[in-house]
């Protein structure tokens, strides 16, 4: 054999992710794929097609809808589930709030990011999910850089970074006690650039939010925020129209846009290659403290 058969980095990452998805299918009774309509979970769905077609997915797609999502992302979510003919389960943070299980934050920048965990844990209990596949990557944030690919959570959904199982070679140990849950991250080893290069290579469709468009915005803590019915404006806020795109898509209350003219995947890849800030730099929820992500994960956040 010659080195011409050597797999490219994207092919290696793809093969590793398919292998992990198939391990989930084999090792768990009731897995789920957490799907938000963002680029990382869209890639997960694409990888699941590669792992299980011509068969059906051995898990439903599950979205924990905060009620603060972009309409474009929700429409995309529904259209994708319908196109591939897979089951989509949606559960609402608003229901948890109405039931008194979750309390909405107060203040000028209220976010539903933290209370999303309440609805997620309830949904896991409702369907008795034993594994939840997520699109988190280790390059996103320093606490995530520490997490295993099979990440065991206790019956409270809590992650204990000091008690992680050793994870050797590519042998994953998914054995858990009743009530425990494993979060599985098949694209742990991908970077933001890998994801975009993969989207280009596989010609994967994305919500229009990722590409440049005109939008009403306000400036908050030097970040560009989309104007929506979910944020309260006061006299100090100046609404402007700018050409922007979103580098990461979460809630409208905590996802900042970036000013950008990039309206094709090629443009976006060029933009990321010269960017001097991380993707998470536009997430207000991570800027709250040095250990914001770690604390949320200990609390059951995905």
């Amino acid at each position: 054999m010659t080195s011409t058969h050597r797999l490219s980095h994207l092919d290696q990452l793809e093969s590793e992710a398919i292998y992990i998805l198939r391990e989930v299918a084999a090792q768990f009774e009731r897995p789920a794929l957490l799907f938000s309509g963002g680029k990382d979970s869209i890639c997960l769905v694409h990888l699941a097609l590669k792992a299980f077609r011509p068969g059906k997915f051995p898990f439903p797609l599950v979205h924990i809808d905060t009620g603060h999502n972009f309409d474009e992302a929700l429409q995309f979510r529904d259209a994708l589930a319908e196109r591939i003919g897979e089951k989509l389960i949606v559960r609402y943070v608003q229901d948890s709030i109405d039931q008194g299980k979750a309390v909405e934050e107060k203040g000028k920048f209220p976010s539903r990011n933290a209370i999303q965990a309440v609805t997620l844990l309830d949904t896991i209990a409702e369907f008795k999910f034993d594994a939840c596949i997520g699109g988190a990557r280790r390059d996103e944030e320093k606490a995530r850089a520490k997490e295993r690919i099979f990440s065991v959570r206790d019956e409270f959904g809590s992650w204990d970074p000091k008690l992680q199982r050793p994870e050797l070679w590519n042998i994953y140990n998914g054995k858990i006690h009743v009530g425990e849950n494993v979060r599985v991250f098949p694209i742990s080893n991908w970077t933001e650039l890998d994801v975009w290069e993969y989207i280009r290579k596989e010609k994967i469709d994305l919500p229009s939010l990722y590409f440049s468009h005109q939008r009403e915005i306000v400036w908050r803590e030097e970040l560009v925020f989309p104007v929506s019915k979910f944020i309260s404006l006061d006299g100090t806020d100046k609404v402007e129209t700018r050409t922007v795109r979103f580098r990461t898509v979460g809630d409208m209350t905590c996802t900042a846009a970036v000013e950008s003219e990039a309206n094709s995947v090629d443009d976006i890849i060029r933009e990321i290659q010269i960017s001097r800030t991380t993707e998470r730099g536009s997430r207000l929820d991570d800027k709250r403290s040095e250990a914001a992500m770690e604390e949320r994960k200990k609390g059951g956040y995905f």
Partner: protein, 410 residues
């Protein structure tokens, strides 16, 4: 572009996290917001503390030590790199083994002032046991020994003396200062006597050994894909990842451990059919005959079979607080296979710093020894020294569900 996965090992305060920070910083892989975050966190000796880039846990930042592995990513136009930043403390040896198990190369750091110490021995032994093809010994903190060539050469000599009994195929030495960046990404002006490459240049150039070229094709079955739809009424595909070698349509196949035979009818992917597939591709294989194949079985090319046995010999690294006593039962996971086993005997424990073999009744946390194992069903495997993907296993305690050992079959 390909991927090089490497681990950094060394004792506490040898500067592993600083070295990684330096690699990322000098190769311009650190983003502005990450830099601002560590700048806010304070300085060390008037410089930003690059170690903070990898110590991601609160407890790590509080104590200034690395507790668990952090994975870091960067790429140059030549290669994508995945770094496993492993802890140096003896108590976290199992985490170092975890990081090494997925690496192609180990960087072992030595403090130039201290020379080769016990942790150097321990980590080198683990790297040798896990058969990482390359070791790069970085003699760090050269700035604190006046960039002395003599100090560097003495450490090199001392290390080679120790390493002659180890299975290290390729050892390279580099004098560096991670704090100042000498020979990390850019060549050093302070060590004109050093004519070699910088660390990054070296990492970009070395050839990665892969198992795609192995003469022994191995395909552990993960799942059976049976859509049972009108369109795919009779479809029965075996999904899995090729561990070594390659498979071609028409190859004669033996299924292990059953020994049943057939031929490859098709190799399917979502993107279409393939004539030949190579390690480490994830594919779906269909056979010409309807024979019994399920998860845990291994497809191999007939005539190139691995060992099939119920009696195994292996080196294991024990990773649990509860000691391993011969006679205990565990679940062994090897490739996609899970089988109950009993530890028959502990032949010896290895003193990792001296390679001495000692007899003792049981194996404790972070200890390495040789065991014999009896399995409930026959297991198909290759010696770890030949194929990592089929010669490695973990043991799971079925009471606690914890992964309690890493094993390498002999």
């Amino acid at each position: 572009m390909d991927i090089l996965r490497f681990i950094t090992a060394g004792s506490v305060d040898d500067g592993k996290s600083t070295l990684i920070g330096r690699l990322l910083y000098d190769s311009k892989s650190i983003f502005q917001d990450q830099l601002e975050a560590i700048e806010r966190a304070g300085q060390v000796n008037g410089q930003i503390n690059l170690a903070l880039l990898t110590d991601g846990l609160k407890a790590e930042r509080e104590q200034g030590i690395t507790i668990d592995i952090a994975y870091k990513y960067f790429s140059t136009p030549k290669r994508k790199f995945i770094i496993a930043d492993a802890p140096g403390h003896v108590q976290y040896t199992r985490n170092m083994v975890t990081g090494a198990s997925n690496s192609d190369l180990a960087i072992i750091l030595i403090d130039a002032r201290k020379g080769v110490i016990e942790q150097t021995f321990r980590h080198s032994y683990i790297v040798s046991l896990l058969r990482l093809p390359y070791v790069v010994v970085c003699v760090n903190k050269m700035d604190l020994v006046e960039f002395s060539e003599e100090v560097f050469l003495n450490i090199q000599k001392q290390y080679l003396e120790f390493a002659k009994d180890l299975n290290l195929k390729s050892i390279h030495f580099l004098p560096i200062s991670a704090l100042n960046g000498d020979n990390v990404v850019e060549p050093s002006n302070s060590m004109p006597w050093w004519k070699g490459k910088s660390l990054l240049h070296f990492l970009e150039e070395i050839e990665i050994h892969t198992e795609e070229e192995s003469p022994a094709p191995r395909f552990p079955v993960q799942n059976v894909i049976r859509p049972q739809t009108t369109e795919y009424h009779d479809y029965r595909g075996y999904a899995g990842q090729i561990r070594s070698g390659h498979f071609t349509v028409g190859d004669s196949i033996t299924v292990l451990p059953s020994g049943l035979t057939s031929k490859i009818k098709a190799i399917d992917t979502f993107d279409g059919h393939l004539t030949t597939a190579y390690a480490p591709m994830s594919v779906t294989i269909r056979l010409e005959d309807e024979i019994d194949v399920s998860r845990g079985d291994m497809l191999v090319v007939t005539g190139k079979e691995p060992v099939v046995s119920q009696d195994l010999e292996a080196h294991i690294c024990w990773m649990d607080q509860k000691v391993m006593t011969p006679g205990s039962k565990y679940l062994l996971r090897q490739t996609t296979n899970a089988v109950k086993v009993s530890i028959r005997s502990l032949e010896y424990r290895v003193e990792t710093s001296t390679h001495e073999k000692k007899e003792q009744p049981n194996l404790g946390l972070n200890e390495i020894g040789k065991v014999t194992i009896r399995t409930a069903k026959p297991v198909a495997y290759d010696p770890y020294s030949k194929i990592r993907g089929t010669g490695s296993f973990v043991l799971v305690d079925e009471g606690t569900n914890q992964t309690v050992a890493a094993g390498m079959l002999l």
